[in-house]
């Protein structure tokens, strides 16, 4: 019974993702270096097909925006450069592929409102670590076909192990972050956005305002029904429980909005819309503990209620625009001890590297 459900989940419901994983495994196995290599275009074509299938299977987006396009390009470049890194024979080519990986992760950091981390990653990894790698490759050169560059240790077993891990990660992500039925919630959020947009655009005459108020009542009813569908069900074994956290809060807010003061209904609608956005973004997120060890200088705690947070237009908590300033403030107040220890670690590593290098030169000379 369990095996039936597992096979159904893997091969019927999520067949693009499973097909992508199998194709990716075959392509990595074919691309890893060995003495008699198959022509690399076979592995490249299979890998490209796997990437497209994984994109279809995991990253379906309803709306195609500039953000989605940027994310897709950065993610595709990261994965392709990662594959090139582990399958190139020439170590210099592999080091340059790593630079491509770092640049694409820098782009992803920019999409995640972390410009300081993007710049720091680029400077430290692509600037310092890769240059060190290239110097060492230059000092430790290998004659052209060598055991180190042109052979792999257990290509089939290592590719299998890596892809079993990847399958576990991707399938669990799909199961916990893409619950079955969020389309009604999306529809209701879009309607609320349209109504709020109409209110902001122009001052309405009394007739239109009454019509808008009636529409608001209807919308609050819809919010309530949708929220009731999403509240976790305890003992219903017949259908899978979608159950989202904060759905109960949404239902309560909808009930309050229905009986609220008619003067304040635009604010109630906005609060309803923000709570619904927060519910929409909550699948897969664990509830943070009530006590958090950092102060407010590192940002508001994760369990702050929706009414006390600023949300941006995507429904996510707003991040500070002056990222470096706030990051510095957080580092030097909440994480001061860690900063000092990190500086000490850097000093010790510098001394250690110099000692190892000098001892090597003495022993050689």
């Amino acid at each position: 019974m369990l095996l039936n459900r597992a096979a159904n989940y893997l091969f019927v419901e999520n067949w693009p993702l499973s097909a992508a994983l199998v194709l990716g495994l075959i392509s990595i196995y074919l691309l890893l270096p060995r003495t008699h290599r198959v022509p690399p275009w076979i592995g490249a074509v299979l890998g490209g097909l796997a990437l497209v299938l994984a994109g279809v299977g995991l990253l379906r987006a309803e709306v195609f925006t500039a953000q989605t396009l940027l994310f897709d390009s950065f993610a595709a470049v990261a994965v392709i450069s990662g594959t090139m890194l582990i399958t190139q024979s020439n170590p210099v080519h592999a080091a340059l592929s790593f630079v491509l990986v770092v640049m694409s992760t820098g782009g992803l950091f920019l999409l995640l409102a972390a410009p300081f981390i993007a710049a720091a990653t680029l400077v430290v990894y692509a600037g310092a670590i890769i240059v060190t790698f290239l110097f060492v490759i230059m000092l430790a050169q290998q004659v052209s076909p060598s055991n180190a560059n042109d052979r792999s240790r257990e290509p089939l077993l290592s590719a299998l192990a890596g892809f079993v891990l990847l399958a576990a990660i991707l399938l669990v992500l799909r199961a916990s972050y893409v619950p079955a039925d969020l389309k009604p919630l999306d529809g209701v959020i879009v309607k609320a956005n349209k109504l709020l947009h109409r209110l902001d655009a122009v001052d309405l005459d009394p007739a239109a305002e009454k019509e808008a108020a009636a529409e608001f009542q209807q919308l609050a009813e819809e919010f309530k029904t949708v929220a009731e569908e999403l509240v976790p069900k305890s003992a219903d074994e017949s259908k899978p429980s979608v159950g989202l956290p904060l759905a109960g809060t949404l239902r309560n807010e909808a009930e309050n909005a229905l009986v609220a003061d008619p003067q304040t209904w635009p604010q109630s609608l906005e609060r309803l819309r923000d709570t619904a956005l927060r519910v929409r973004n909550s699948p897969g997120m664990l509830t943070p503990p009530p006590y958090l060890a950092t102060s407010a200088l590192s940002g508001p705690p994760s369990n702050t209620p929706v009414s006390e947070r600023r949300l941006d237009r995507f429904g996510l908590p707003a991040m500070p625009a002056a990222n470096s300033a706030y990051l510095g403030r957080s580092l030097f107040t909440d994480n001061l001890l860690a900063i000092e220890i990190a500086g000490f670690l850097l000093l010790v590593a510098t001394i250690g590297a110099i000692v190892i290098a000098t001892r090597r030169a003495e022993r050689a000379g």
């Binding site: 003495t35 008699h36 995991l58 987006a61 925006t65 989605t68 994310f71 990261a78 994965v79 990662g82 890194l85 582990i86 170590p91 770092v102 992760t105 950091f109 409102a113 972390a114 981390i117 720091a120 430290v124 990894y125 670590i129 060190t132 790698f133 060492v136 000092l139 430790a140 290998q142 052209s144 060598s146 180190a148 052979r151 792999s152 240790r153 257990e154 290509p155 077993l157 590719a159 990660i169 991707l170 992500l173 999306d186 879009v190 973004n281 590192s298 994760s302 429904g315 990222n323 957080s330 580092l331 909440d334 860690a338 670690l345 850097l346 590593a349 510098t350 590297a353 290098a357 090597r360």
Partner: protein, 142 residues
């Protein structure tokens, strides 16, 4: 509406981590093994920064900075050690250090020989035009 949900970023972080794991286990060049380990760290960094964005605070970004620091220290010491290892065996192949394996494990043997070094095209030779000049007594007796 949020068109870029959290699990997209977690999937990319997971893929980078798994690819780094495969590279670490499969490659024989010590430097390439270490480069794959650095790619695993990049995957973890993407996860941390994504969670920082979707929770709305900066804790994930602070931890990523410490990750960066530790990766830099690790790279410095590792490079020095790799150069020492190269000096011992004149090769970066990690299979040369096999006597460090566990007692019950069979050794890794290379049965197939490597393909021969590709001989490049011979350097071009110009056809000699005229006789070669014979050096005079003065020029040979330096």
């Amino acid at each position: 509406m949020n068109t870029l949900p959290l699990h997209h970023f977690l999937a990319v972080g997971g893929v980078l981590f798994a690819l780094g794991l495969i590279g670490f286990m499969a490659r024989r060049n010590i430097i390439l093994m270490f480069l794959s380990a650095e790619m695993m760290l990049q995957g973890v960094a993407i996860n941390l920064v994504a969670f920082a964005r979707y929770h709305g605070n900066l804790q994930g970004q602070s931890f990523t900075l410490f990750l960066l620091t530790v990766a830099a220290c690790e790279a410095a010491i590792a490079m020095a050690l790799f150069l020492m290892l190269y000096r011992s065996r004149k090769s970066l192949d990690v299979s040369l250090w096999q006597e460090l394996r566990e007692p019950g494990q069979p050794p890794t043997l290379d049965e197939e020989p490597l393909p021969p070094e590709p001989t490049g095209e011979p350097l071009p030779r110009l056809t000699p035009a005229g006789r070669e000049p014979q050096p005079t007594e003065e020029e040979t007796h330096v």
